[in-house]
Symmetry: C2
Subunit: 152 residues, 2 copies
């Protein structure tokens, strides 16, 4: 076996049952992926949540998006989109203007600089796989199926 089993990674030789093991394995693997992801993003000065919001805004472009729309489309729906937009605005990657037809809402738009950054990332960072080159497409599909089933 050429890869590190979870027992070795966390130096815990046994688990009470396969459920406890897969739980720890999932948490560990997600953290492992997040760390690799962060490394790829670091040179570009944005984080994964910021990238995800930029991608949604590019999808809407040139139409604006509201915070509500961002929350709907985000992976983690409970996160705080408003403050992530703060960061993107500070870097001039997005603009915020009051929505004319509903002054409670805010129109958020990706700027040219934001589009250029995404384009640059498309060409470089996102070309490389995120660390999933060790499994076959079939195994990836099987893994997805098991995860879906796990969540009920």
């Amino acid at each position: 076996m050429q890869f590190m089993k979870i027992e070795d990674e966390i130096k815990q030789p046994t688990f009470q049952n396969p459920y406890q093991k897969v739980y720890i394995n999932l948490v560990y693997t997600a953290g492992w992926l997040a760390q690799r992801q962060a490394e790829i993003f670091r040179p570009y000065g944005i984080t994964l949540p910021q990238f995800n919001i930029l991608r949604i805004l590019r999808g809407q472009h040139p139409k604006p998006a509201t915070v509500n729309l961002l929350i709907e489309r985000m992976l983690d729906k409970t996160s705080n989109a408003s403050r992530i937009v703060d960061k993107l605005e500070a870097k001039a990657l997005v603009t915020r203007t009051t929505c004319p037809s509903n002054r409670r809402a805010v129109d958020i738009r990706i700027t040219e600089a934001g589009l250029a950054l995404l384009h640059q990332m498309d060409e470089t960072a996102l070309r490389q796989p995120i660390g999933l080159q060790n499994i076959t497409p079939e195994e990836a599909a099987q893994l997805s199926e098991l995860l879906d089933k796990l969540r009920g």
Copy 2:
């Protein structure tokens, strides 16, 4: 099919390839598990990282542990054990004393209150599965294997 596929959960009908899909599925599922975990822990006033450190300290008890040992044993090795110990100390669940044989190091010990809390959680919160009742033990083992393989 009685469960929600990831496509439905995040309302994205298609993915570029099974790798992108399994990546998003992993991140999503780990977040889903973390949220369920947090709900179970909330009544006890501690978080998952705090719980993990308490468990390590119980494993050492009555011997002390140093911050270094905690970092080694923790799931996420880059996290900040020192500050998590701060929180546990504030709740009087652990004590900190300078290590007599190496005054750079700090001896951290679980208190009686800490042991009592863990014992109470053993009897209640940890009896219930964390949300993994939807897969069989065999599927759990298969999932663990795929995750190990994914990390290379």
